[in-house]
């Protein structure tokens, strides 16, 4: 009911012109997606073992969105997202060990164990979180865009939200200001078909990519399971925003394989629906097929990548277990910057 039919999928924008991409660049995207997939599988495993607590929102199934967009970014661009953020952190190059150790609440975590799954940041990589309040990251993203413009640093902010967040009032307050002031921001709706347990058809009126139309924000719906299509759309959107023409809205049609969080059994959808997406639209399998079919890559070329990713995830898991818990004195640090 919710996932798109075959003919609708074909209407989504296709892979577009990625002819300038080298095989090694595409292999890199493959590896980045695979890293997120394997990392998240391990995180799910650690959660089951009781090593990760609280909320934990996995990104499995949506990898093409963040990897495709990241591949189109420039170093000066900044990123902000909500709480389903592990994939975004890995995509922007944050250490898997640091991410995993944050999930386990250890001092080696990227927030010293004080943020957790939903709250990680890297000023160095221009990753501004990691925000737990649905929709709040969008005005903040507009503000990061404001800072890019004010400082004239040439950067664009990429502000991600889910389909659920796209209904929040503050999103539209941000759209209005971003369009009014021509802020360099690319708003990305990761439409994974469900706002927690409520399907898009039940929570959102109209088409999400048109939600900026009233503000003259160009919007486009993209097949978010096709990393090359995502990349192409992101290149265009980033160029538009960077050239001073104001924000762009991209709706990425994607799907999350796991529940909303670890405690969600996802009984609001059928097994058939999930199986259909996994078999027909899986972003990693899809790119693998393209590599083997169109780019002369052999299975034996992919094996070392898979091995490397597996090793990296295992190292992250080891680090996240071995890193000690934060010292009790950490309770009192980082409340305020010492003036």
């Amino acid at each position: 009911m919710v996932s798109k039919t075959k003919s609708e999928e074909q209407k989504l924008r296709g892979s577009g012109d990625n002819s300038k991409l080298s095989v090694s660049e595409i292999l890199k995207m493959y590896e980045d997606m695979l890293l997120i997939r394997r990392f998240e599988e391990r995180a799910g495993q650690l959660y089951g073992m009781g090593l990760i607590g609280g909320f934990c929102h996995l990104y499995i199934g949506q990898e093409a969105v963040v990897v495709g967009i990241q591949s189109a970014q420039k170093p000066e661009d900044s990123v902000i997202t909500a709480y389903r953020d592990h994939g975004h952190m890995l995509a922007c190059g944050m250490e898997p060990g640091g991410v995993m150790a944050e999930l386990t609440g250890r001092i080696g975590g990227l927030s010293k164990g004080k943020g957790g799954s939903m709250h990680m940041f890297s000023r160095e990589k221009k990753f501004y979180g990691g925000h737990g309040i649905v929709g709040a990251q969008i005005p903040i993203g507009a503000g990061l865009g404001f800072a890019h413009k004010y400082l004239k640093d040439g950067g664009v902010n990429i502000a991600y939200m889910g389909d659920g967040a796209s209904n929040q009032g503050q999103v539209y307050e941000a759209f209005n200001m971003a369009a009014l002031w021509k802020l360099p921001v690319v708003f990305v709706i990761e439409n994974n078909q469900y706002g927690m347990g409520t399907s898009v058809a039940r929570h959102a009126a109209g088409e999400l990519y048109k939600r900026g139309a009233g503000y003259d924000i160009p919007g486009e719906r993209i097949d978010g399971m096709d990393v090359l299509a995502v990349r192409k759309a992101a290149m265009d959107a980033l160029e538009h925003a960077r050239s001073g023409k104001g924000p762009v809205l991209l709706e990425m049609m994607t799907y999350r394989y796991r529940g909303h969080s670890m405690s969600d059994p996802a009984k609001y959808r059928t097994k058939e629906e999930l199986d259909h997406v996994r078999e027909e639209r899986d972003p990693i399998e899809r790119l693998k097929g393209q590599l083997l079919r169109d780019y002369g890559v052999k299975e034996t070329d992919l094996a070392p990548i898979e091995e490397r990713v597996k090793e990296e995830c295992l190292r992250a898991v080891e680090f996240s277990k071995e890193s000690p818990e934060p010292d009790p004195s950490e309770l009192w640090t980082d409340v305020l910057v010492e003036a």
Binding site: S78, I80, G109, L110, S111, K112, G113, K114, G115, G116, H119, M120, F121, S122, R123, Y128, G129, G130, H131, G132, I133, A136, I138, P139, I140, G141, A142, G143, L144, G145, F146, A147, H148, Y150, L151, N157, G169, Q170, Y172, E173, A174, N176, M177, L180, T333, D334, V335, L336, V337, A339
Partner: protein, 471 residues
């Protein structure tokens, strides 16, 4: 029969204004809706239109007159050919109004307060007692000379100086730029700094507060003005969850240097939704600073400190105080320390702590108490979070009695915190239970008499202090 034209109030807090220009002259035929004159307050210039019709018999208050009290007779209309006579009733009324206006001015002993303007010094109390103030670390600023300015001007000067000093500081909010500020705090700033740094926002508090937080994360130092702090409730998630907590959640990586400012607490006759003190709300949050200036020196010194601080600061101003004048040091780097209270009036019998507009009321109450033989020490908190517990506790150790005055409600208010802190810090020094003078535990009513009953008044403070002193 002549019809009086009265000096109108152009805002809920206006008590007097200037007649800038008469646009009609005596003998003119007046139709309702005709613009009679232009009135200036320190906030705005407005046109006064005729309501009644007739011939303008007399212009009672001439062009250029300043300090014209609201509701005093400024002109009179009548039938053509009628002769204007100033009745004794009108004359009496004029006198009474102007007396009221003076009586409403704060009565504070300037001997204690470096910030008091000469204008207010005419209202000195008879007591010739020498008062001793603390604030030693501020003396260096005051010794360099002072100048008289309103709280509004002090805030504007602080923001402008900091914007000149640091190009990453900018001001955004509703009507801050082209309108020159809803309360004229940012008057002229657009002209000086241009539209890139003085930015009018749409009326979307949650959106622009969040945008400000993002700009702060991105390396800027935003000053976000809420037209009043009441509207900050629309944005409170960004103040609490986005601005205050991110440093901690990021393990110290990402601070948020931002100032959220605007008038807080009751103005005058604007009803429940526009009259609320948020001091205890924001003071509850670790990761925030909460400042509440009383006079112009506080406003300037604390605003500069707030802008320079690398943390999120909630800066609680007061609409009624905007137009009041005080002395402010001319020192070009006058910055007050955050977290330090100021003993505005030294005394030995009872300590009265207050913040913002209530400091003036507490000082007036102290003078009433002096006449009753009670020597009160008045502490201006200035900073709500962090609170200067040391200064308060030291005072209580001396006086053994404490009255806390605030414009917030009593439940979980600043007075409640004060009581808990004093029990922790100087339980054995207390000779009486701590008394709280607060906003009554009701939404603020509109009716003038009820509004007065709901808000802390000088007599409430006097009564509370007498109570703890058993006198």
């Amino acid at each position: 029969m002549a019809i009086d034209i009265l000096m109108p109030a152009l805002s809920p807090t206006m008590t007097e204004g200037k007649i800038a220009r008469w646009l009609v002259k005596e003998g003119d035929a007046i139709k309702s809706g005709k613009v009679l004159c232009e009135i200036e307050t320190d906030k705005a210039t407005m046109e006064v239109e005729a309501v009644d019709e007739g011939t303008l018999l007399k212009i009672v208050v001439p062009e250029g007159a300043e300090g014209v009290a609201v509701n005093s007779v400024i002109a009179a209309l009548g039938a053509k050919g009628e002769v204007y006579e100033q009745t004794s009733r009108r004359a009496d009324e004029q006198t009474r109004k102007s007396t009221d206006a003076v009586a409403n001015a704060p009565v504070i002993d300037p001997g204690c307060i470096p910030g008091m303007s000469p204008a207010n010094q005419t209202q000195q109390i008879s007591s010739a007692r020498l008062l001793v103030c603390s604030s030693a670390d501020e003396e260096k600023f005051y010794s360099g000379g002072t100048k008289t300015m309103t709280v509004r001007e002090a805030l504007r000067e602080a923001m402008s100086e900091e914007m000149r000093r640091d190009p990453t500081v900018f001001l955004m909010g509703e009507e801050v730029a082209e309108y020159n500020g809803a309360y004229k705090v940012s008057q002229g700033m657009l002209d000086e700094f241009g539209p890139e740094r003085v930015i009018d926002t749409p009326i979307t508090e949650m959106g622009f507060a969040g945008l400000g937080v993002g700009a702060a994360f991105g390396g800027l130092k935003p000053i976000v003005e809420f037209m009043t702090m009441n509207f900050s409730m629309q944005a409170i998630d960004h103040i609490v969850n986005s601005a205050a907590k991110t440093l901690y959640m990021s393990g110290g990586q990402m601070g948020c240097p931002i100032v959220f400012r605007g008038p807080n607490g009751a103005a005058a006759r604007v009803g429940a939704q526009h009259s609320q003190c948020f001091a205890s709300w924001y003071a509850h949050i670790p990761g925030l600073y909460v400042l509440a200036p009383w006079n112009a020196a506080d406003a300037k010194g604390l605003m500069k400190a707030a802008i320079r601080n690398p943390n999120p600061v909630v800066f609680l101003e007061n609409e009624i105080m905007y137009g009041q004048s005080f002395e402010v040091p001319v020192h070009d780097d006058f910055v007050l320390p955050i977290g330090r209270a100021k003993i505005e009036r030294a005394g030995k019998d009872v300590t009265i702590v207050a913040y913002a507009i209530m400091v003036g009321k507490a000082l007036q109450a102290a003078e009433e108490l002096w006449k009753l033989g009670i020597d009160a020490e008045v502490i201006n908190l200035r900073s709500i979070r962090p609170l200067d517990v040391e200064t308060i506790a030291a005072s209580v150790r001396k006086t053994n009695r404490l009255v806390s005055v605030e414009e917030s409600w009593p439940f979980a208010g600043i007075g409640s915190e004060m009581a808990a802190l004093m029990m922790e810090h100087c339980f054995d020094d207390l000779d009486a239970p701590i008394a709280r003078v607060c906003h009554k535990d009701v939404p603020l009513p509109y009716a003038a008499n009820l509004e007065k009953l709901a808000l802390p008044q000088i007599e409430d403070i006097v009564a509370a202090a007498r109570g703890v002193c058993n006198r």
